[in-house]
Amino acid sequence: MPSLKELRGRISGVKSTRKITSAMKMVAASKLRRAQNQAEAARPYAETMQRMMSELATASQGMDPSTLPPLLAGTGKDDVHLLVILTSDRGLAGGFNANIIRTARQQIEELKAKGRTVRLLPVGRKGAEIFRRYYPDMIVDSLHNNSGTQQTAYALAQDLAKRVGDLVEAGEIDACSLLRNRFVNAMTQLPQSLALVPLPVAENDNTVHERADGAVYEFEPDEGQLLAQLLPRNLLVQFYAAILESAAGEQGARMTAMDNASRNASKAIERLSLRYNRTRQANITNELIEIISGAEAV
């Protein structure tokens, strides 16, 4: 049985932990609102662009892939697969990083089982640490996340888009997917994978099938010039939206995790206080018994 002094020490320890977790919760909650607004504002543009791109991919399906830019149709091979994985720089966000890392590892194993070479580009310190430990030879490079404030998010997206674009152009990778937590609400983040290169073909999209069959896209200015502008732009937009979504998800996950932690701390304090009072009462009773039995003996 711990002594009264020990219990007092433990109670004050848990109390100061609760102070920290509830402060972190407040900070995450106020950051969440901004991050959520930014993520939601960027979503329609990214989604519309994605739809437009998959239409383009569907329309160019029948064409000879070697005449199309590699960012659209891939390099013609399917050997080297790059996974860009968005995690956070900082921990204490519940299952936020663990979930996305688990999804990533599943995907890595699946790709390996199919005989593909996997390359990784983790973004965020948490992911980089894990992947460096498990798959040190697959890592191309790792980048910091800086928790997605708007300016740094844009600079990071530009950097990512340029790197991926260059790797594809150089023929070093044949396909690229992006793994990120999609922000649903403060409680829920969905780890999802998004294929970026080659562009995914639209599935069961009625709007696409309604179009006259065999109609080929016309481009203005010419195809090469337009796609050279549009495809890198698409990469940039998708990365940018994903970084903002992930940043909002991180704050949401942290808020929920810290809320749980504060609640658990309160419960622990209650339990410890009960135990402290019981122990104190037992001590008093003991002393009384000793005094009474002493008096009786005299």
Binding site: P44, Y45, T48, M52, E55, T207, R211, E218, F219, E220
Partner: protein, 143 residues
Amino acid sequence: MPLRTEIVSPERRYTDREVDMVVVPGGEGDIAAMPGRSPLMLQLRGGVVTLYKDDQVLERCFVTGGFVDMTADHCTILADSVRALEDLSIDDARQTLDQLKDQWTRVGPDEIELRASLSRQIQAARAEIEVAQKVQQNDLKAI
């Protein structure tokens, strides 16, 4: 058959409605999208997008560039930025134009991409001034 038209900018979804015709400022001239046209992907220059329904102008807005995807039943405009005509300001646009011209003088001749992007921005700023002036004179027919 109506034509579903969306105008989206990185900041927001500006409009999403069904119309009969959309006229967009293409990089090589204005182009109208009508239901049933063959698919076209187009780069935009700075200018006014006009939506028509029953031969009436439904809505006008100013875009500073971007891309358009036209198919038989919809027209998706991904604009770099989009504003209502009333929100245009001649003074702001002039200021932007001066800054851009200043940048232009400092760009080397071999920075092709930067030059191309600057020249597009300068065109957009000029177009904005022109449109804003017409809005001020209430001369909307000329747009």
